[in-house]
Every structure is written in structure tokens, then in C-alpha cells.
């Protein structure tokens, strides 16, 4: 149904265009629907059958694929687009990550790209007319020794000079931010200080996928779930379409945003990539009343943790350290991560672990993403996200849409080209070298 009362309550910089029939979400529409027991809410997105042909086919209905489709339509007016998802929207890493959103990078290429994403995060709820609960509660990296203080301050300074918010926090200040942290001198990893990105935080992962899906759909994008891409067809080095479980779909351009399955897709056109698929686990405690208001990460203790709005502690740590396509891990890493949480927060030993799960990480050889063109004309790659692709979601979609629409990378993703591994201009934030599991 068409939105009758123009919604005064939301000042969206880009109100959803009148052409489509979409209910504007607001307290008013909510109240009106309450009157008829919510029996008249329309679908958030359609479930169309695939058309025989599209200008652009995006493979992968995660945050990145959906954001790409959204910005293709919104920024480049390309609406004859399909997003092909083998399972359910957001069921990949978008639906299983610890939702930390930040841009606290040392290397320039990373810094500028992720900061663009931050800018989009801030406007996302309004841009999508869907509350993605972006919560700028701050992300604090704890330093546990002098070497880390050095490294973190160096990074903080680079951030500031790149125009990114960053602050150094003393132990006293940290105590006020997160009183339950372990400030004991006897701590195995005493806290020396911390690098805070005040405007960083978390967001509701599912809402990001759903919000972009709804926004893209309302602009005419076809979102096709339960449809797996099984092959990619090329002619004279040019992409012409994709084979799917719902038949062949012709396409002028194809953008691949499938995270852990990136190499699978490019194997279909005989391309090998500097990417390995690894397993990363995450977990939640039982919900408790607010006990942690900031996102805390500790490199030394291998743990990052935040409390969701529902009250669970959402946390994770290292990879399982072996190649895997299973969305389930093993116990050793859970032992490490949970003991880290207990070391950082001695009072948390009495919390209980409610659920654990895993996701398939597209670990690149330098720890930075690959977004750009490929040797095959009309075929574009978006992958290699490692631990960090959720925070990139809007920026990734934004530059990927530009790259696909213009057939050349945006300034922001030039440095993320596939060629960088041949030329040597890698972005190795960690300095770990060509070992995917080390990033």
C-alpha cells in the first residue's frame, strides 16, 4: 500500500522515491497499523522470479551485494539489476559477525576507504528508512605493553592526520568507560592505555541486510533468494551471464560479492585468487543488564567484545587456523576466547555461554580486501574481507557500484586491485606477509 501521510518524523536526505509502492516506516505508520493488529503491513521486499536478462547481476545477497545493488540504483540509476542469493538474505557472514564498525587503520588506503564507510553508516538509518541501530558507542583497543602503546599511538596519529577521529585513553579514563575491566597490577596483561575511536561502534547486522534489500527492492532491483549460481558464462573474454539453479540468466555485467565463496565463483571462470577460506567463530553469553557500554578489543588477549541491545555479550577472537568451509568450528579457540574474556573482565566468569557459531572468512594474502575489475571483461570482484567486512558494507557497496557502473574503480578502491599482489603494492596492515591465516 502507498504511504498516505508524508512522514514528517523522518528527515531522510534521500526519501525513498515515489515511484515504488513502499510503506514508509515511522512511529505513525506503526501506530496506524497497530489499529488493525498489524495485519496490513506490506512485504519488505518482493520475491520475484528471475528475468531472463539483466544489466547487472550481483552474486551474493549479503550486506555487500545488497548495498551494491542499492547504490547501483540510487547513485547510478541502474535498476535493471538482480541480486542472486543461494540461501536466505544475510545468511552468510553478514548474519554471523560481531558487528564492530570502525575505521581505525594505519595504512592510508584502508583508512580513507573505511572512513567513507563510516560516513555512510552515520546516514544509513535515514537513507534506508530502516533503523539499522548504528550505535556509535566507541571502539577501544587496549594496549597491554609498551610496544603496543607505540604501535597504537602511531596508528592513532595516522588516523587523525587522515581526518579520522581517534583519542588516546589513560588507564584512569578507561576505568570510567569500562569499570569492569581488569585493572589489577597483577593482571597477566595489565592495561597500559588504549586507543579509542569515539565515533566507531556497532550496528544491527540483520537490519543492514534487510534495510538494503528493502531499499534496493523499492528501486526495482530483483532480489532472488534460494537461487545458487553454479556457473559463469564468458565469450571472448567477456562475461555474458550466470548459470543458476533457476536457469541461465543473461547479464551485461556481473559483480561477485560472496565472501567465503569468492574463490569458488572465480574457479568457474578458471581464475585462481590470493584468497583462502578460513573459519572464524563468534559467540554470545546469556543476556544480562547493561554491563559494558563500549566495544573493547584486545590484541594481546585475542578478544573483541561488546554488549548487544538485547543484553548478550557478543564476542570473538582468532580464526580456527585451518582452511574450512564449515560454518562450525572446534573447541580450542572457544577456550582461548572465553578465557580472554574472563581475563579482561574477571567478573564475567559467572556469565554463561549461550550459543556459538562460525562463518567462512575470505582471508586475503595481505589482510586487505580486493574490490575491482578482473581479467574478464564485465566481471567484477568484491572479496578478501577477512575479519573486517561488516564495517565496510556501505562503503564496499558504494565503491563497487561505482566500479561496475563506470567500469573503473573509484579513487577509494584503486589500491584494492587484484594486480597489487603482482606489483607488490600490498596493504599489509599487520605486516604478517602472504599467510592468509595470519591476518
Amino acid at each position: 500500500m502507498r504511504c498516505l501521510v508524508p512522514d514528517s518524523a523522518v528527515s531522510s536526505p534521500d526519501p525513498i522515491d515515489g515511484g515504488s509502492t513502499v510503506t514508509h516506516y515511522s512511529i505513525f505508520t506503526l501506530a496506524r497499523n497497530a489499529l488493525d493488529y498489524h495485519e496490513n503491513w506490506p512485504e519488505a521486499w518482493r520475491s520475484p522470479d528471475p528475468q531472463p536478462e539483466y544489466d547487472v547481476v550481483i552474486v551474493g545477497g549479503g550486506g555487500h551485494g545488497l548495498a551494491t545493488a542499492f547504490y547501483l540504483a540510487k547513485e547510478h540509476g541502474i535498476t535493471n539489476v538482480a541480486v542472486i542469493e543461494k540461501g536466505w538474505l544475510g545468511g552468510g557472514n553478514t548474519g554471523r559477525n560481531t558487528t564492530i564498525v570502525r575505521s581505525n587503520y594505519l595504512l592510508e588506503g584502508n583508512a580513507h576507504f573505511y572512513e567513507k564507510a563510516m560516513e555512510l553508516w552515520r546516514g544509513m538509518t535515514a537513507e534506508l528508512n530502516y533503523n539499522v541501530m548504528f550505535s556509535a558507542r566507541g571502539v577501544l583497543n587496549l594496549a597491554h605493553n609498551d610496544a603496543q602503546v607505540d604501535a597504537f599511538q602511531r596508528r592513532g596519529n595516522a588516523m587523525r592526520l587522515n581526518g579520522i577521529d581517534a583519542e588516546w585513553k589513560t588507564v584512569g579514563e578507561i576505568r570510567r568507560m569500562a569499570p569492569l575491566l581488569n585493572f589489577s597490577r597483577e593482571a597477566r596483561f595489565p592495561i597500559y592505555g588504549g586507543l579509542l575511536q569515539p565515533l566507531a561502534g556497532t550496528a544491527r547486522h540483520d537490519a543492514v541486510a534487510w534495510g538494503y534489500a528493502r531499499g534496493a527492492d523499492s528501486r526495482g532491483v530483483d532480489i532472488i533468494q534460494n537461487c545458487e549460481v553454479t556457473g559463469m558464462k564468458t565469450e571472448q573474454g567477456r562475461i555474458v551471464g550466470v548459470e543458476t539453479t533457476k536457469g541461465f540468466i543473461k547479464a551485461r555485467k556481473v559483480g561477485v560479492a560472496v565472501a567465503g565463496h569468492t574463490t569458488q565463483l572465480f574457479d568457474m571462470v578458471g581464475l585462481r585468487l590470493p584468497i583462502e577460506s578460513h573459519l572464524l567463530q563468534a559467540m554470545v553469553s546469556e543476556p544480562v543488564k547493561p554491563a559494558l557500554d563500549t566495544v573493547i578489543t584486545s590484541g594481546a588477549a585475542h578478544c573483541y567484545i561488546s554488549q548487544s541491545d538485547k543484553g548478550e555479550m557478543v564476542f570473538g577472537g582468532d580464526l580456527d587456523f585451518y582452511n574450512s568451509y564449515a560454518q562450525r568450528g572446534n573447541f580450542p579457540i572457544i577456550e582461548d576466547v572465553v578465557s580472554s574474556a574472563c581475563e579482561l573482565f574477571p567478573a564475567f566468569t559467572r556469565l554463561r555461554l549461550m550459543r556459538t557459531w562460525g562463518g567462512i572468512m575470505d582471508m586475503s594474502m595481505d589482510g586487505s580486501p580486493i574490490i575491482g575489475k578482473t581479467p574478464i571483461e564485465g566481471l567484477y570482484i568484491n572479496g578478501g574481507w577477512c575479519y573486517g567486512g561488516f564495517k565496510a558494507t556501505p562503503g564496499s557497496g558504494w565503491v563497487f557500484a561505482h566500479t561496475i557502473a563506470q567500469d573503473r574503480p573509484h579513487k577509494l578502491n584503486e589500491c584494492f586491485s587484484l594486480e597489487r599482489f603482482e606489483t607488490g603494492y600490498v596493504l599489509d596492515e599487520k605486516g604478517a606477509g602472504p599467510f592468509p591465516k595470519a591476518h
Binding site: R272, F321, E422, P434
Partner: protein, 92 residues
């Protein structure tokens, strides 16, 4: 996961270190290979979804490297062997 070291026998995951794709071979004479071949050796991987031949290091044991054929979807291990040996099993 329980992994059978060809020498020490079956041990738990936490005694081992994963050391990468066993099909990757270092060019015996790097100067003789093209930039592309060198790039391939350093950076490119098959990363198959299914049976995968891997190198593991028995870090908290005999500290030797060996090969394992492991299914990276189910984590089943078809066989392990010394680096000089042959892997069997799996549909590979």
C-alpha cells in the same frame, strides 16, 4: 579434530599447526620461472571446497611436517602421510 601424525599417532588439534596447501610447490630454481609463475607460487591458491591436501606441523609432538587429505566442509580426514608419502582416500 583428531589428526593422525604418521609417527606419533592420533593426537588432538591443539597439538598441530596448519601449514597450508600441500599442492603448492616452490620452484626449484626461482630465477628460471616467469614473474607469473613466481606470483602464482607465493600468492595463488586453489582453495577447493571439499577434499584438500594440506601440510600440518606436529608442533607439540615430533615437530615434523606431514601431509593430510582433509575435507574442508566436513572436516573428515581421509589419510595422512609423511611429506614423501602418498595420500589416499577422499574422492580426489
Amino acid at each position: 579434530m583428531r589428526i593422525t601424525c604418521p609417527w606419533c599417532g592420533e593426537r588432538y588439534l591443539s597439538d598441530f599447526t596448519y601449514q597450508g596447501d600441500a599442492t603448492v610447490e616452490r620452484p626449484s630454481d626461482p630465477d628460471k620461472v616467469s614473474d607469473a609463475e613466481w606470483h602464482d607460487y607465493v600468492y595463488l591458491r586453489d582453495n577447493p571446497k571439499g577434499w584438500h591436501d594440506e601440510v600440518w606441523h606436529h608442533t607439540n609432538g615430533c615437530r615434523k611436517h606431514f601431509k593430510a587429505r582433509r575435507n574442508v566442509v566436513t572436516h573428515e580426514i581421509a589419510s595422512t602421510a609423511p611429506m614423501s608419502g602418498e595420500l589416499t582416500g577422499g574422492d580426489k
